[in-house]
Amino acid sequence: MRLLTHNMLSCNIKGVSNGFPLRLEAEKWVEKEVELNADFLRGIFPKIEWKALAGAARALGYNELPDEADASMLDADDFLRRFHHALLELHVEEGALVCPETGRRFPINKGIPNMLLHEDEV
């Protein structure tokens, strides 16, 4: 699971008012290089919750993202590379996503988060 996916998922348990961001507990992750697409990064930047991305990256030991970011930073190649790396090149293999309100854990096995809800959570 890439951190881009983490940035767009929220906990949907009945009664939870703010299920985002899911806390990332990572036990195992891998890096896979992929070509950088600057247009894509510039286009998606305004839709990214930056704090959630930076926090998730830190959970994977990647501390190269600033705490805050604004669109002017997209002109710097160095920033684009870091943003690209965090968003698309880090893959969580084993761990869990944890609901910020209820603490419910959604396990991640072989890279696949299990977001199935129990009957009483729907």
Binding site: M1, R2, N7, L9, S10, N37, K47, I112, P113, L116
Partner: protein, 205 residues
Amino acid sequence: MKLKQVEGLLGTLQQFSNPKVELEQYPTGPHIASRLLYMAESTFGDISGKVVADFGCGCGTLGIASALLGAEHVISIDIDSQALEIASENAADLELDIDFICCDIKNLGWRGQLVNTVVMNPPFGTRKKGSDMGFLTIALKVASEAVYSLHKTTTRDHVKRTALRDCNAKSAEVLCELKFDVPQLYKFHKKKEVDIAVDLWRFVP
């Protein structure tokens, strides 16, 4: 990548070893899948460089086809963890990076509108009435630019009404009619193989 190459690669994918009838698991054939994605990319530019989600991905065919045609990020979702295991092996065999999520489409929580395009071959709603329209309703909420979906030709008027009236889609257009070959998968199938007419739709949310 050419249409024939996409179709050829999709033909190598592993399919359901133990299809579950209650989920209406039918493989999306390479012919139909390659045409769906090729049209989405070459006519409308909805795939390359986009975030694409495959709803009810099964063994992964449509998401894999999206990745082959240059989608920047693909999220494929299915309720069945066994199907996802096959899908994930299929993606790995072709060295494609696809994110899989195990969830019921109707229960997944989304933050923001990061998905540009949804592609899907939803359950046709023959076992569980309304499941096809349930998928469509959610797809039209999640996608910001376009939804591609297959529905039985016999339901054309109903699909159009649901999309335009109930889901406030800006447009709902049948791109072409295709033959969906249903192999003899389940015990209640009396014939070896049947073709059913399906419409390939493009919706704009």
